[in-house]
Amino acid sequence: MARIECNAFISQVIDRLKPGLLIAGIPVVVAVALLGPTVGCRSRATYVAAGKHLDFNQDVQPILAAHCFTCHGPDPEMRKGGLRLDLEESAFKKRPGHPDAIVPGYPDKSELIKRIESRDSHRLMPQSSQGEAKPMKPEEIAILREWVKEGAVYRPHWAFDKPERASLPAAETQDPWVKNPIDAFVLARMKQEGLHPSPEADKTTLIRRVTLDLTGLLPTPAEVKAFVNDKSPQAYEHLVDGLLARPSYGEHRARYWLDYARYADTYGLHYDNTRHIWPYRDYVIRSFNSNKPFDQFAMEQIAGDLMPAKSLDPLIASGYVRLGLSSNEGGTIPEELRANIARERTEAFGATFMGLTVGCAVCHDHKYDPTTQKDFYALTAFFNNIEEEPFNRDRPVWAPVLRIPKAQNQDAYNKVFARRSELQNQLNDLHAQQKALVEKWLGSRQNVPQAVAVDKLMLRLRLDEDGGDVLKNSAPHAQTATFPVGKSKPEWGETTWLWPDFRMNSSTRIMLGQTGDYESNQAFSTGGWVMLRSAPNYPLDQSGTLISKMDTTQHDRGWDLALEHGKIAVDLVNEEPEIKDPPVEVAGDGKPMKEKFSYPAPAELSAADLSPDKAGSPKKEAKKKDEKKKDDKPKPVVAKDTTPRLAIKVLTLDTMPVDGHWKHVFFTYDGSGKASGVKVYVNGVQAATRVVVDTLGKQSLRTQAPMQLGWRYPEATPAKETRYQDVRLYERALAPDEVKRLPYEDYVAEIVSKPESQWSEDQWHVVSQYYFTNLDSTDKALRSQMEQLDAQLDKLSEGGPLTLVSWERPAIAYADVLTRGVYTARMERVEANTPHYLPPLPAGMAHNRLALAKWTVSPENPLTARVTVNRMWNEMFGTGLVETTEDFGIMGQRPSHPKLLDWLAVEFRDSGWNMKHMYKLMAMSATYRQSAKATHDQLLKDPRNLLLAHGPRFRMDAEMLRDVALQSSGLLVNKIGGPSVKPYQPPGLWEQISYPTADTVHYAQESGEALYRRSMYSYWKRMAILPDMDSFDAPMRDAVCTRRQRTDTPLQALVTMNDVQWVEAARALAERVIKQGGQEPEQRIKLMGDILLAHDPPPQMAQVLDNSLAQMEKHYKADPKAAHALVEEGEKKPDSSIPEPELAAWTMVASEMLNLDETITK
């Protein structure tokens, strides 16, 4: 790309010069001079001219990718003429009826070359998708021609080859300029281009640069002085070591990482409420400060919940996975949201750890990279297998969630936690041996699973058809073998339970005819696996019919299995009045409904934990009115229905939580006509019930209404969009022992009756789950020990803050390949896996996030180390060795220094993924220490300094700018971590955009300390980030950002001139220099320079400031009111010992200093 733009530039320059082409030759000289420098430009012209061999990766592939791959690349959908040019074997493949695209060595015989050189606009390639010819540039054509001539050699894409430690360029290592291997590579590259390194920056520049780069803060004047006076050869190294040891180092590094991890304080969509995950932020700071090896750091974030741990940190780290957007918008369709969430996580993982734009394969095979659509969805599967609901109920936390112990309990907690982790690990190890253990068990002929007798089994809907519109009744005594599905189709295979599942749609009707038409003296049993719809607007205590044969038009004659506010109800009805007397509430009836929070969550979250944060200044009027309105609604007046109530109604005491889990719900009836003859079971265990009505006696239940799933006849009280599996009806009352076996054992018996070789993966899963849950004594023992520890952990963490974490589901991690990325267009179920063109997952491991984490940092992985050191480089030097830090794929930039990049990657890995080591290496290099001042020669040959012939200089990031303003003025509060704070923000910003009932509708600006913390602790609302941060290109953190933009807009100038934070900082800085600088203006100006620039202002600058001071003093002495107004800006009171006009004048001078290009530039 650089090359293409470069040439475009030259032609533009020449075009523009045309009117000025008075002096022939000169512009040409300029143009030629310009040709040399940039990394891209060189090779094209010079290689071809000099007849050197082309480098496929550097020279050829970018041209092919830019012009050819859209139609002749990896995506089969877009491929034209059956020609694929990104792979060697397909490029040379004979295509019947087509001339050979490439004949190695013979450009004139190669159709590829003929077409790109064609004069016939119909034949000319490339063409746009609209069929418009878009000729390549002559230089590009020349390269391709040369490449074919040289034999059209293909090489694998550079970034997918494992990096090898390049040997140092021998000559350069001897050069006195070279301080470490980085310099040798950089120097060698410079020499190629005839460039020379710059001298070392002076000490003041150096200390300011390195202190800002390593801590995000300025060096103090005392530090500068000490460093300047330290004449020892190790002075600089000591400085660097000292900086790396500061807590502010970890904060600053974390600040970058939070962009890479898309950290924010709200969940980003719709209400955009607060989400509690700041402990993750503090974990990142801790990790950098303790110099945690990067492999561990990465693994903890990807799969901390699956790793053995001695402290909570890995679990907190696993919150990384859940940092993305989330929603609870009213109409949200859970499957869509789930697909989007998995996709977001995958894209984030791809960008941060792989440096690839995998998201391009959401809809189709990647157009340039070899990432196929299947690769992409296989990767999403890793992130699709977490114990969570897709929507957040507009709460600050939603499962899985962790409670962090308060500091005083930390040690005790960690001890218990480490023990628990050990047990968990043993359990994991045990489960890893599932195949062997299951085989051993089955071989032993002990505890053979028993099927439930099929005696009088009238209906069995397995619902495993996985498509189609006919349901099979597999019961041996089936009256009807098949049932057609009505017009509104069900959804098949959205998730997997015993097998890919079945879900009713909102109007799906499953009519089961006259099955189940019984008299009250007939015993029968029915039920099956159900998963209730769990979605926004679906209450947690749902009501609705699961299975029925009941006619609501005939006083509810018939029977049903239903939910009433989450309690399971069984109704056997002869007749009911339309409006029943309210059931008598039994004292102590039922337990409070609890959502299930599996460990690591605390057993129970309080209402306070779950309720959204309070908005700043709540306006209650609107709500009150609404409530009032509700009350005003006229109540329908219905004539008293005198129908007697002849029925049995039994209700469970406990409510069944709607938590996104499958439950086996079943009841048996003995034909006694009495409520005592009804037993209700959940997951095979009899549930405690109470009798609401018991008046049926011998009255008939029979009705012409059909038996149905999900509704009562004709269309009443649906259980909304429930999933079902294995629904059964027996014409007898099953014994408790039989019901116990129904959920699993019956199916396991069926599976094991076949040879193992015929079991599917899903069946293996069911059998081993059954084995571990019921038969393995080690499993049982471990679990019971863990339960005890859980209770202790709960106790020890009482009152602590909550944070979102990951927690793997004990299921196989699947995803569906979605056509065009549409969530309903499921094409193929795939198991979690890594992209096919990269090394495979570690052998013998379950395909879960832990395997992915290990894979990410395995020595075979070609990307992680490269991508990470490149980002470090980008942080320090302002541009990555690969400029596209987020894209190491075919379309990404080629590295400017490939050997250096590989050397650094290997060094990083071999150093034990030592991050401080790498930052130190970069900071210690002569390359980094160069003066930023560029020579004419350098500017001409390499204006963007990609070859690093002078030191880095660029505008600081948003957070650094504000931090530096606070620090220089002495306002900065140094305190690490804790909940995010709300500094100054102009009023009204949130109200303008927020949902009125969001907890972020009002910004409650804090006061005191909170105003002066480092910017990384500022509350990050995704829908409206702090405006000063926004102005300076801070990202919304909707998505991963691995390099920020660096724009200069007038809005930025308005911030640093007028934002109260900056005005207050200017005043505080003025106070500081007035008090500490001395009596003379020169002394004070000098101190200001020392503070902000790390050096005395040079005379010219001092002169300007001095003049300005005189003007300001004059102005404010003449207008003391204005002076008063100015110094009163900000919350902190001005120092009353300083006369206001003086302070005001100095405030303006300080503001001038804070607004200098040099101040805001690193």
Binding site: L17, A65, K487, R953, A1024, P1050, M1057, Q1100, M1101, D1157
Partner: protein, 517 residues
């Protein structure tokens, strides 16, 4: 990283002044270079600020005379951008975004036959296998709720318009009404994003950013793309509008929309601190500029020059934005037209008036957000309030533009993110009902530059549920809007993540010829 096509030359920000070339040529180079720096590395800026002004009175580049040099022509000319791709009908656009989704059946899509079907079930065949929102998916019935309001015919075209829009109705002969807009999204957040950015997921540039990027600025001292929020009315159901809707996505953030606020500073941080008057600010800036110039001389970093320009531009904005927001010179006829509401900052009428003022001052794209249209319940209670807020103001804006001769080259677009269901959400009574989200058809209108006046485009079925004829997808709609501004949507591209990205996305889109004048 995110450069304008014109900015490609920034890869070579060499210091031309140092070149060993003759003085005459050097001057020409300087003129070119000044320009290039602002547009390039130095000036990833000022995309929305004309350069000419910067090189005028106060020569920010340090070469004030350079402006007089041959070749120095100020801002990037559209010719250099190869834009517009063809003669534009509209130079600028105003987008009145009705966030929350107005019910087309109650406003525009006249279905008199529905009255007879009151409380009848919507036939399954009409709904098909449509995936419904979580809000009505569980409803046992889908009873038809005919519109509560009468419709009348307006204009020479005799177009039917609801009694709720009696003022807008008077415009019909100037409007291009599209009844067959349809979208892929069924919930607000993704749907609004799709309308505004062409994609349901965050991260893509919005229409305004594309226009800023493609067409650049038309003025010296105001942003190219401005965003106006209408004050929230608590009686309405206000869906949020995130700042990502006017973000520049992968385009440089200089193309993001700049909010013009009704309270506090009209542009954030515009006002000087207490105790700092214009004279002090000028002096302060002079000092900063002098020192920055010294820095430039020492280090030669073009970025430093950009900084000088940036501060000058800020200074100009401090004067131009208050002038924009100062309505004291508006004649009485303005208030007669827009109504007294327009005097209340942040009202929709006020925003419409501001949109007109910005159009006059050369703002390229103005997006006005009006929230509150999410009428899931109590349609008869809420809709009149909403319409009262927008009806007269829309009429006033279009009329005002027309009277001032601005309508010919200003495109006005009105509409939401989807439609609403013909069936009632929740209980249906004789005098009230609710309407759920409906992506399959909804109504919007355009007026002015490029749009064919006095037509109604497309037909829906008798239930206002499905498109019967001439569907217009969001992609097509956006392609058509770009077309009116002289842009071929297939050519306004930006390479990101290795793909040629465009507003209309990868799925083919078509300019709807039937909508064009």
């Amino acid at each position: 990283m995110k450069q304008h096509p014109l900015c490609t030359d920034t890869e070579h920000a060499e210091n031309v002044l140092e070149l060993p070339i003759p003085a005459g040529l050097k001057q020409e180079w300087m003129a070119l270079e000044n320009r290039r720096r602002f547009l390039g590395r130095a000036g990833k800026v000022l995309g929305w600020a004309a350069m000419a002004s910067l090189m005028g009175n106060r020569g920010a580049s340090g070469d004030a005379h350079a402006a007089d040099m041959p070749g120095a022509q100020g801002p990037p000319s559209p010719a250099e951008l190869k834009l517009p791709h063809f003669a534009p009908k509209a130079k600028r656009a105003i987008y009145l975004f009705m966030s929350g989704a107005p019910p087309q059946i109650d406003l525009w899509d006249y279905k008199p036959n529905l009255a007879a079907l009151y409380d009848k079930d919507l036939p399954d065949s009409v709904r098909g296998g449509q995936q419904l929102t979580g809000m009505t998916a569980g409803q046992a019935r889908f009873p038809i709720a005919p519109s509560h309001w009468a419709f009348k015919r307006y204009g020479k075209t005799g177009t039917w318009v609801s009694d709720l829009l009696q003022n807008t109705g008077k415009l019909v002969d100037d409007l291009t009404i599209i009844k067959t807009l349809n979208t892929d999204a069924i919930n607000h957040e993704p749907a609004i994003m799709l309308m505004n950015t062409g994609n349901m997921n965050p991260g893509k540039p919005c229409l305004g950013s594309w226009l800023s990027y493609g067409l650049g600025s038309m003025n010296d001292n105001l942003p190219t793309f401005m965003v106006l929020q209408t004050k929230v009315n608590p009686k309405e159901n206000n869906q949020p509008v995130s700042s990502r809707l006017w973000s520049s996505g992968f385009l440089s953030s200089e193309y993001a929309g700049v909010g013009l606020r009704s309270g506090g500073d009209p542009v954030l941080f515009l006002t000087d601190p207490n105790g700092v008057d214009r004279e002090v600010r000028r002096k302060m800036l002079d000092a900063v500029e002098q020192i920055n110039r010294q820095t430039y001389e020492e280090l030669g970093d073009p970025e430093t020059n950009a900084r000088i320009a940036q501060y000058e531009m800020a200074y100009r904005m401090q004067a131009s934005v208050p002038e924009l927001a100062d309505l004291s010179k508006e004649p009485q006829s303005t208030w007669d037209l827009y109504g007294e509401d327009a005097k209340e900052p942040g009202s929709f009428a006020y925003n419409c008036l501001m949109a007109r003022r910005m159009a006059e001052r050369g703002v390229r794209f103005t997006q006005v957000y009006k929230r509150g249209w999410d009428v899931h319940t109590n349609v008869t209670g809420t809709l009149p309030i909403l319409c009262q807020e927008v009806d007269r103001a829309c009429y006033a804006l279009v009329t005002d533009l027309k009277q001032r001769g601005l309508l010919d080259d200003t495109l006005v677009v009105w509409g939401g993110e989807f439609g609403r269901t013909v069936y009632s959400q929740g209980g249906l009574t004789a005098d009230n009902y609710g309407r759920d989200h409906h992506p399959r058809c909804f109504t919007g209108w355009m007026a002015g530059g490029g749009a064919r006046p006095g037509i109604t485009y497309g037909e829906t079925d008798e239930y206002s549920y499905n498109v019967a004829k001439d569907p217009v997808t969001v992609r097509d709609y956006n392609a058509t809007i770009l077309h009116c501004l002289g842009i071929d949507h297939n050519k306004l591209i930006y390479r990101s993540q290795g793909l040629d990205q465009k507003l209309t996305g990868p799925v083919p889109a078509n300019v709807v010829q039937g909508l064009l004048a």
